[in-house]
């Protein structure tokens, strides 16, 4: 085999291996399209897009965090907190509804970032603590969950979550825009490069003079901000600051990111992969609903099995080119 064909084959294989999730997504979509007449209906597709958008925004932040070799378990709680704060803030108008959650959630992200970057504590445990803290804070400001803040009917803030273009909700466009920006940020800026470097070899990044601590702090702040924003969008969409949402959402986000081919050990990953991972999760959920007769307990068995299949598939795709 000549060097050239080897290189060509290598890039073909690596393209496929990175797209393990895409392959799965295409498969599932094709099967669903054929198997369920309602799956392909515009309404259903719009629902899937809208459903995906909130998780996509959170998973975007998670992607950055995971590429630096960290993890953010607090996103679910922060998301819920962001929603409550947005609904609470909406009584003073659009800007307050948006800024209040962003400021508070950004601050929580900042605390995560500072604790991780400056004290060398494990991100897992730091963000586990903020998971508890954000949920506690949420309960405290809603008098143990007894108060639910609603967004008033006339509030301009409502438009953010409920407005549509071509039938697609605004959150879909917000998520797409953010993911596009996130992709550029990750691939094409110095900050993005140092995100990869920090995750790939932290010590080296430090010796190379990269701003390791600042990079880490920033990704956690981003994750906090994005979770807060997703919460605000949700509050607008649901027209209230619901206190019971976001439980276990961190695992969904992590699963989506990992399914999308981002290495949990850091140093590798793409935003596109994450978007595919999120879409895959929503589509599978939708298909389970289309089946309709599945016992609710079987549903989680199926989800777990699916997660497993995708990850194993991806892994075996990734493994084979090793033995060129």
């Amino acid at each position: 085999m000549t060097v050239e064909t080897r290189v060509r084959r290598a890039s073909w294989v690596s393209a496929l291996q990175r797209q393990g999730a895409a392959v799965a997504l295409v498969l599932v979509v094709v099967v669903a399209w054929i198997g369920f007449p309602r799956f392909g209906s515009p309404d259903n597709l719009r629902d899937i897009a809208l459903q995906s958008s909130f998780l996509a925004i959170i998973a975007l932040g998670m992607t950055f965090v995971i590429i630096t070799g960290g993890i953010d378990l607090s996103v679910g709680s922060v998301y819920a907190l962001g929603g409550v704060l947005a609904a609470y803030g909406s009584q003073w108008g659009f800007l307050a509804a948006l800024l209040l959650p962003l400021v508070v959630c950004g601050l929580i992200g900042l605390v995560n970032g500072l604790l991780v970057a400056r004290t060398g504590m494990a991100p897992f445990i730091v963000t586990l603590a903020t998971l508890l803290f954000a949920r506690g804070l949420l309960l405290a400001i809603t008098s143990e969950g007894a108060t639910t803040y609603r967004v008033d009917d006339g509030s301009p803030f409502l438009e953010l979550g409920r407005g549509t273009v071509l039938g697609f909700g605004y959150p879909v466009f917000v998520a797409l825009a953010l993911c596009a920006a996130g992709g550029v940020l990750l691939r094409r800026t110095a900050f993005g490069r140092s995100v990869f470097a920090v995750g790939g070899a932290e010590h080296s990044a430090l010796l190379m003079g990269l701003p390791v601590a600042r990079t880490k702090v920033l990704v956690y702040v981003m994750s906090g901000l994005l979770s807060g924003l997703a919460g605000a969008l949700t509050a607008s969409y649901l027209q209230s600051g619901v206190t019971v949402i976001g439980v276990g959402l961190e695992l969904d986000a992590i699963a989506a990111v990992v399914i999308g081919g981002t290495l949990l050990t850091g140093g590798m990953g793409t935003v596109l992969g994450t978007v595919i991972g999120v879409a895959l999760r929503t589509v599978i959920q939708n298909v389970i609903n289309q089946v309709g007769t599945l016992d609710s307990n079987y549903q989680s068995v199926v989800s777990g099995a699916f997660l497993l299949v995708v990850v194993v598939l991806q892994r075996s795709l990734a493994k084979s080119p090793d033995r060129r």
């Binding site: 969950g145 007894a146 649901l238 209230s240 949402i245």
Partner: protein, 329 residues
């Protein structure tokens, strides 16, 4: 406000489901401009909120399915989804039920707030929505047709009354709260505390998250730090049963030296009442099937539907538990 003794009289499998109260002005099909859809011929969607892993949810889903079968609704015309405790999923579920052609919707909301987009979607398609077991904070007869369910504040109040009775109106009460942030918890707490006689003092309120083992663990702690507790109000049966186990392990005699009152009406709890280890259970009736389908049919028939249909909740205590054990779910 009109009052009505409706529906379930003949339909409910259990005597406790028989009586209902309803309130609010009527809401008719003409008023809304919805098409006439007979229950028997309709595609019906049911959105369940949580896994059918506790007796209440099991009984609730079963009641819907059983009644549909009884009315001759073919199996493929009853669409059922389960939101697995995820509110966003429930919104999606309801929308997907609509996409799949549901013409009538029965929804067991996961939460009182947050279903607005789903309700809007139903309204846009002129699909009537009945919410069961939990009221949503939206406009009745606009966002949704009606609510059928218990009055949780009322349940708390009845628990307080039962508590007053079994304790003789004096003592120290510990409350095992439900999950935080859940409005069932909020209402059952409010109803209870607002109606507690002065002689009964609440010495501790801790969440047992509607879970038996958490209820047990919390009770074990409380009995150590407050040995003088004489009564326990558990916001569901599971926690109450956990408390019984904890009290027994601590050498107490539940039902005698520590009185226990809880809400739900599950078989296990009622059995304990019959055995004397428990004092009272306020029922939270899950058998919505007959009432829900009757209401939908009434709506199709053009009758005015009240904005709230209160399903009647029974009560079990030492005097009737053994006899009514068959009604418990």
């Amino acid at each position: 406000r009109e009052s009505q003794t409706a529906a379930g009289g003949s339909a409910g499998p259990a005597a406790s489901a028989a009586a209902t109260r309803s309130a609010g002005p009527g809401c008719s099909r003409e008023q809304l401009g919805y098409p006439r859809i007979d229950v028997k011929d309709a595609v019906i969607g049911f959105s369940q909120s949580e896994k059918e892993a506790n007796p209440f949810r099991t009984a609730e889903t079963a009641s819907i399915r059983d009644e549909a079968a009884k009315l001759g609704v073919p199996e493929d015309k009853l669409l059922v989804t389960n939101a697995q405790s995820d509110l966003n999923k429930q919104v999606g579920d309801i929308k997907s039920l609509l996409d799949r052609g549901a013409q009538l919707l029965v929804v067991a909301p996961l939460n009182s707030d947050g279903l607005q987009p789903a309700l809007d979607a139903a309204r846009a398609k002129k699909v009537p929505v009945i919410t069961i077991d939990r009221k949503v904070n939206s406009e009745p007869c606009a966002d949704y047709l009606t609510f059928i369910g218990s009055d949780f504040v009322e349940q708390g109040k009845r628990a307080a009354e039962a508590m007053a009775e079994v304790t003789g109106g004096a003592g120290k009460v510990a409350i095992l709260l439900g999950s935080s942030g859940n409005n069932v918890t909020t209402d059952r707490t409010k109803g209870f505390k607002d109606n507690l006689p002065a002689g009964l003092e609440v010495v501790a309120e801790q969440t047992g998250e509607f879970d038996r083992s958490k209820g047990q663990a919390v009770m074990e702690q409380l009995i150590q730090s407050n040995p003088d507790i004489t009564a326990v109000y558990a916001e569901n049966d599971e926690m109450g049963i956990g408390a019984v186990t904890a009290l027994r392990a601590a050498g107490r005699n539940p039902g005698q030296d520590v009185k226990i009152v809880s809400v739900d009406g599950t078989r296990n709890a009622v059995q304990l009442v019959a055995d004397g280890a428990y004092n009272a259970v306020i029922e939270s009736n899950p058998r919505f099937g007959p009432l829900a389908f009757q209401t939908l049919q009434d709506f199709a028939d053009g009758k005015a539907i009240p904005e709230t249909v209160i399903i009647s909740d029974d009560q079990y205590d030492g005097s009737n538990a053994a006899a009514k054990l068959g009604n418990a779910y």
